[in-house]
């Protein structure tokens, strides 16, 4: 021990000038981290020199580890150490002592002093010190065997090669994983797994040094093997061996319970299969949809779903599905990031919020089913059995606290502290003017210890939400900038940030700058609950989706423009070569293709103004008549198309059909502005409009096309009238309660619900079903997705006050300038719920202005008429 101590002191004497210089850097870093000097400040930017301190701190530690007296170069057989009567063990233990006492101990003490001065509890101080030792060892320990491997500048070269190889390995492996995402069970390393791998690297480096000394390798061979060891160590960080300490489930019992209860997921109501093409240009069948919520679980947890792939079985053929894209893999901070945009987040915070608080601006939900892809099955028409495997990463939300939105307000918790420094209205995080936004400048300190910490790195564990209690509104998204930071390498990080919430001070929200102190800032923390595995089994599902297979036309804009768009089309039509009277079917088809291309090119001629009136009044009758003459000879060109609609602009195709029937000379057909009418010479007919209906009836074209062809061939309207008669009988038929309920469940049609008036039992069932579906599917936010709108309308008609409340509150956010005639149609449905009628444009605007002032509490529900009436004394 005496020899060891002597040798250590000898090393210390050699290193002392450098060591004291390094210690001064450590002290300086401590002073900066603790904000004794250059504190976080709104007024001034961080001085540039503090960015150099970490480099000097870690670079200095590395230099200390590599340095030794020249006479003690073990790699040099001529050096004094080779003949000195010093046991080898003493030499190596003294090297360890140099690391432990001269490098690691100051680092650990610096961390301990910093955490103590920051007022952290004793347990955190000890954990922080332990983790600092762990990190220091990971960064420095692998340099200790260098004296054995090389002397002089060679050891710096070896160290540099090790670092550069590791960094190159990082570049290449990240690239490969991004591209293939097939190498690892997890995506991307965390810094903790990298540090673990670095410790393994130190061990490998020691073995390499021993082997190199024994075999006397040349410098080039030593460098080559150093690079290999460095890359190998780095690769270890990607393997399951190096599990980050924080990536451990917090509530394994709950996860087990979830798996037991929902090992097989409930059948989704919405899913589809469609054809697509992979990046390698291979056709594939893609499945997406929406997973059903898992009920009966703690409200504070939400899942982040990942699809692990699955099998599709058609008859006896099994196809294996695959998922790609790195977002489908476990990725250490994605679940936390996605929660920010999840409109269902508000449910997890419900206990801290006013009832019926609605979220502003949240977009995607966690229920979207991650896609799975299969090769295109040979027999796609046959039904298939599908089995999918999922994993869900569960995240628990905890409210750390909240404060007022005013400078000086604070939130304090064991995990995190926050102080609002400035509140800047109408400005974004970069300081640019942004009307309606509110930017907070705040100082936050946060526990950053891996042991018992969260796996959500890069500040994704604590998020801020803003709420207006009086308005029952919550802003959960925000954009920020992180201008200054201190204590990045410590267990208590501090930063000064700017965070912006958009669309807060708007006329829609009813908030002004004077209301800012009434708003509240809430901090929520996210914890990793655990990962559960699930299966989804679908039996005998159809793989076809007629909607996605319709051909469509890409809109283009023609350069030739006459006085109006309608005139342009007529002008251009004269350029098209007309086929001969006896033209073949192919020639007529080419002619038709040419005309329809022209129609698509000028499709904007059918565009409507906001109020629903046409921009370019008129019609294409003249063109349709000219084309119809040729089509009459080969009606199959058009009637045997699988779909009538080949673009959003579809009336031209129906006008062509109208023109064909008109030109066929069948008696009783007349043309009106919106289509053909039928007035038979022998009296009245129950069919008046001939073809207009096919635009509105699901499957209308498929039913009518053969009838049109036959009518044209026989010069007789009977087949068309027969189709109309069939449609009428279906509408008039008295549908049973079960049929209506089934239809309602599938479509959520308000008219079907009205049809249930007077059928008390069925109406009660319908109400219960709608209520359950509404609560399950409609997220608590301002604004409703178009696909959920029918359900929301049904909920209002069914008497749900919550639905009416949300709808009326949502109307306050409508911008009249952005409204169009389709919005007025939506308002018409709402108007009928108040016993109103159909609204025209001006009435619609007036209704909107009135409805914005209404509150659901001012109305009572009349269950007999399924309408809402204003209370006499609200």
């Amino acid at each position: 021990l005496n020899l060891l101590l002597h040798h250590f002191l000898k090393e210390f004497r050699y290193l002392r000038s450098r060591w004291f210089a390094w210690i001064s850097v450590l002290i300086m870093q401590l002073a900066v981290d603790a904000e004794w000097i250059a504190p976080l400040s709104v007024a001034s930017a961080a001085p540039a020199w503090i960015g150099l301190l970490p480099m000097l701190m870690w670079g200095g530690a590395a230099v200390l580890a590599l340095a030794y007296a020249p006479e003690d170069a073990r790699a040099d057989d001529c050096s004094f150490i080779a003949v000195r009567p010093l046991p080898r063990a003493c030499y190596w233990w003294s090297r360890v002592a140099v690391f432990g006492l001269l490098i690691a101990m100051p680092m650990v003490l610096q961390e301990g002093v910093y955490l103590l001065c920051s007022g952290r509890p004793a347990a955190d101080v000890l954990l922080g010190m332990w983790e600092r030792f762990f990190i220091t060892g990971a960064c420095i320990a692998w340099l200790l065997p260098m004296p054995l491997m090389a002397k002089g500048w060679h050891r710096f070269t070896i160290a540099a090669v090790a670092v550069i190889s590791g960094l190159l390995a990082k570049s290449v492996s990240v690239t490969l994983l991004r591209r293939t995402s097939r190498l690892s069970h997890e995506m991307f390393y965390t810094s903790n797994s990298l540090f673990q791998a670095a410790w393994a690297g130190a061990l490998l480096m020691l073995m390499l040094a021993w082997w190199q000394k024994r075999h006397g390798w040349s410098l080039s061979r030593t460098l080559t093997f150093t690079a290999v060891v460095s890359c190998t160590s780095y690769a270890l960080a990607w393997t399951p061996l190096m599990q980050p300490w924080s990536w451990t489930p917090r509530e394994p019992a709950l996860i087990t319970e979830i798996e037991r209860k929902y090992g097989e997921l409930p059948q989704p109501q919405k899913y589809r299969f469609y054809e697509s093409t992979s990046e390698e240009s291979t056709p594939e069948l893609v499945m997406d949809g929406e997973l059903m919520p898992l009920e009966g679980l703690p409200p504070q947890i939400n899942p982040h779903w990942r699809n692990l792939g699955g099998e599709m079985r058609i008859k006896d053929v099994a196809l294996t599905g695959k998922t790609d894209g790195y977002f489908k893999r476990r990725f250490f901070f994605l679940p936390a990031i996605f929660m920010k945009d999840d409109p269902w987040l508000i449910r997890t915070l419900q206990s801290a919020l006013e009832p019926e608080t609605l979220s502003m601006g949240s977009s995607s939900g966690h229920r979207a089913m991650p896609t799975c892809k299969w090769p295109i099955p040979v027999d796609r028409a046959a039904p298939a059995d599908v089995e999918l495997n999922f994993e869900a990463d569960w995240v628990r939300q905890t409210v750390l606290g909240e404060c007022e939105l005013r400078p000086g307000a604070r939130v304090r918790s064991d995990y995190c502290e926050m102080e609002v420094l400035q509140v800047i209205p109408h400005q974004d995080a970069d300081g640019k003017e942004q009307r309606g936004s509110v930017t907070l400048v705040f100082k936050q300190s946060k526990r950053e210890i891996e042991t018992g910490g969260t796996p959500f790195e890069y500040f994704s564990d604590v998020w801020m939400v803003l709420r207006a209690p009086a308005k029952r509104l919550l802003w959960q998204q925000g954009q920020g900038a992180l201008p200054q930071m201190r204590g990045f390498y410590t267990g208590w990080q501090r930063h000064l940030s700017r965070w912006t919430f958009k669309d807060v001070l708007t006329s829609s929200s009813g908030l002004t700058e004077a209301d800012l102190p009434t708003l509240r800032v809430m901090l929520r923390k996210q914890d990793y609950t655990g990962t559960s595995r699930h299966q989804l089994k679908l039996k005998q599902v159809s793989l076809t989706d007629p909607q996605s297979e319709k051909p469509w036309a890409y809109p283009t804009h023609p350069p030739r423009v006459a006085e109006t768009a309608r005139l342009s089309v007529q002008h251009e039509f004269t350029r098209i070569r007309t086929p001969a009277a006896d033209a073949s079917r192919e020639e007529v088809a080419r002619f038709l293709a040419d005309v329809v291309t022209l129609s698509h090119a000028y499709s904007y001629r059918s565009d409507l103004k906001k109020d629903g009136s046409p921009w370019f009044p008129g019609n294409d009758h003249a063109i349709a008549d000219a084309v119809a003459r040729h089509l009459l000879r080969h009606p199959q060109v058009i009637t045997r198309l699988p779909h009538l609609i080949i673009s959003a602009e579809n009336t031209f195709m129906r006008e062509l059909l109208d023109a064909m029937l008109l030109a066929s000379g069948i008696p009783g057909i007349k043309r009106e502005s919106n289509g053909l009418i039928y007035e038979p010479p022998n009296g009245s007919s129950s069919t008046r409009r001939l073809l207009n209906d096919i635009e509105n009836i699901v499957g209308g074209w498929q039913a009518m096309a053969p009838a049109i062809e036959q009518a044209l061939r026989d010069r007789d309207l009977s087949p068309i009238l027969a189709v109309h008669a069939k449609w009428r009988s279906e509408v008039r038929q008295h549908r049973s309660d079960e049929e209506l309920l089934k239809y309602l469940r599938e479509r959520f049609s308000v008219s079907t619900l009205w049809e249930l008036r007077g059928r008390e039992t069925a109406l009660k069932q319908a109400r219960e079903m709608i209520r359950a579906e509404y609560e399950r599917r409609v997220p608590p936010r301002i604004g409703i997705d178009s696909e959920l709108r029918p359900l929301a309308e049904c909920a209002i008609v069914a008497g749900m006050e919550v639905a009416l409340d949300r709808r009326l509150r949502g109307l306050r956010f409508w911008n009249e300038k952005e409204m169009d005639h389709e919005d007025v149609m939506d308002l018409s449905i709402l108007s009928r719920s108040f016993s109103g009628g159909e609204l025209k444009w001006v009435q619609g605007l007036e209704f909107l202005r009135q409805a914005r002032e209404w509150r659901a509490a001012d109305f009572s529900y009349d269950s007999a008429t399924l309408t809402w009436r204003r209370k006499t004394n609200p």
């Binding site: 690239t175 023609p558 251009e572 070569r577 080419r590 293709a593």
Partner: protein, 545 residues
């Protein structure tokens, strides 16, 4: 080591070409550029270090001091090594890359000079440092100091570079300054190396090197002469050009091309198109153009550098049968020329006020020139490259199925010396945006007589968009302004003609058109003329929503 240098040079060049020409290349995600550049600098410096340290003049033990050979010969030998091992491989690799751009002798010489300048700076710098160091230890210390110094300098540059966005002219001045400073630094470093090697004056040599390194940035900053910026082009046929105002006389056989029905331009060439850069009244003691001035070429905020619009498509009509149905995909920011009342509205002027002033009309004229007509199949399945003029090449990749559509990627590739401009004039500028080369790709369906004109959607060069790769460095311009053309087979042909993709491709030709600048021209309209221009009450057409 020299072989490794050659291999690394070749790999770096291949890598540059690969990432610029390959869509979503795996290598482009690896961010190898910095590593390769750093590797080259380290390897080049290492090569010179090995060469010079073998006979270090500062090391008294070195064998060459007692060899029967003069120090001059030694220095010349090392210089020759610098040329043959460091510079010659670089020239060979780079020279191969410069082929196919139609560059003249002056360009090749300037580009080669830039390579020699860079290589000599690196080699002479490393050689001088090595010659000044008497041991490996000193060498490492000097190298570490050099690396720290370079890092600090780069960090400062980056910080300043972010804060200040400088104008093109200022960039050119800085480029000229850096070139002169680099020449000075090269001579200074060579002198320092000479002083350390031949007369073996270490302190003088160190002084010369330090003075060179200190003075060079000052020279770069203080340099004022800009020989790079070219003047803008004036329209050569300006005397033949005229404006006609007022309602066109039906008897007039040359009514001119209408900018508006009451303002027409006469004398334009057959394939020439005039675009309004600015049109606004000239008000005494007020800057021109005023706010609200009309322009056909407004600022384009969506990240694209293409500016061709409908008037340019119309210029193509006469080259095709009159019965052709035309469709187009042009610059989105052009939504039709405003009517004159709308122009007045934007300027917040009433007619009575407007006709009190003289108005200035600034136009830029472009000529549509056909570059090539090829079977569409050739674009579909092959790489294509068209030399537009020396130093500018339009390159196309074959079509590939990407992101649910057929996409053809390509780039406008500019290569030349940054200190000796290839172009004789500067492109016209509208609203701070350079109107650089633009192109039409016209798909021509001969059978259906349908033409689809696609304005090649070049990305804006000032945007850091992922398909714009500016690999220019060290007095060499090497810029790839990318574009992506997305194409779908027309559904009408699938539905009605049952035409397959291959049939559709094979029945078409494709032509490439270049909008070549002819120059800028200005007109002054008197109040009387403006009274005629604004006399006509403009009928407000129902415009596309």
């Amino acid at each position: 080591m020299a072989l490794l240098w050659l291999l690394l040079l070749a790999f770096r060049q291949w890598h540059q070409v690969h990432v610029a020409t390959t869509w979503n290349s795996t290598l482009s995600h690896a961010d190898l550029e910095v590593w390769l550049d750093m590797g080259l600098v380290l390897l080049g410096a290492g090569l010179m270090w090995r060469c010079v340290s073998a006979e270090s003049p500062s090391n008294t033990d070195t064998f060459s001091l007692t060899r029967p050979m003069g120090q001059k010969a030694l220095w010349c030998g090392k210089l020759l090594f610098l040329f043959s091992a460091l510079l010659l491989p670089a020239l060979i690799v780079m020279g191969a890359y410069w082929r196919g751009f139609g560059l003249g002798v002056a360009q090749i010489l300037t580009l080669s000079g830039a390579v020699i300048l860079v290589g000599t700076l690196l080699g002479a710098g490393a050689a001088t440092l090595t010659a000044l160091a008497s041991s490996a230890r000193q060498m490492i210390a000097l190298a570490v100091l050099a690396v720290i110094g370079t890092g600090v300098w780069l960090a400062i540059q980056e910080k300043w570079g972010e804060a200040v966005k400088i104008a093109l002219k200022e960039q050119h001045r800085a480029l000229c300054g850096s070139f002169v400073a680099a020449l000075f630094a090269m001579l200074g470093l060579l002198a320092a190396w000479w002083l350390a090697t031949v007369p073996r004056r270490r302190w003088t040599s160190a002084g010369v090197m330090l003075a060179t390194l200190v003075l060079a940035p000052f020279i770069a900053q203080a340099w004022k002469t800009d020989w790079i910026t070219r003047p803008t082009l004036r329209y050569a046929n300006a005397p033949k050009l005229g404006v006609k105002v007022g309602t066109a006389d039906p008897a007039d056989k040359a009514p001119g091309r209408g900018l508006w029905p009451t303002l027409r331009l006469t004398g334009l060439g057959k394939d020439e198109v005039a675009s309004i850069i600015e049109f606004a009244p000239v008000v005494k003691n007020a800057p021109w153009p005023p706010q609200g001035s009309f322009s056909d070429l407004p600022a384009n905020p969506n990240g694209f550098g293409h500016w061709l619009y409908t008037d340019h498509t119309r210029a193509l009509f006469k080259h095709y049968p009159p019965t052709t149905l035309w469709r187009q995909h042009v610059n989105d920011s052009f939504n039709g020329r405003k009517t004159l009342p709308e122009v007045l509205q934007a300027l917040r002027l009433k007619r009575e006020e407007a006709i009190q002033h003289r108005w200035r009309l600034r136009l830029v004229v472009h000529e549509l020139k056909r570059i090539a007509t090829l079977p569409y199949r050739q674009f579909w399945s092959q790489k294509n490259s068209f030399l537009i003029r020396p130093g500018v090449r339009l390159e196309f990749n074959p079509y590939a199925w990407i992101r649910e559509a057929w996409e053809m990627h390509g780039r406008l590739h500019r290569l030349g010396s940054a200190v000796l401009p290839v172009d004789a004039h500067r492109s016209a500028t509208a609203r701070d945006r350079e109107l650089r080369d633009n192109f039409f790709l016209v798909q021509e369906d001969q059978e259906l007589r349908e033409n689809f004109a696609i304005s090649v959607p070049l990305v804006a060069r000032e945007r850091n968009y992922y398909i714009h790769r500016n690999q220019s460095q060290l007095w060499q311009t090497d810029e790839n302004q990318g574009f992506e053309v997305r194409t779908w087979q027309p559904s009408e042909q699938i539905v009605f003609l049952q035409r397959t993709l291959d049939e559709w491709i094979d029945q078409q030709d494709a032509s490439l058109w270049h909008a070549e600048e002819r120059g800028i021209v200005e007109f002054e309209l008197t109040p009387e003329q403006m009274a005629q221009v604004l006399a006509e009450s403009m009928k407000k057409e129902g415009k596309k929503p």
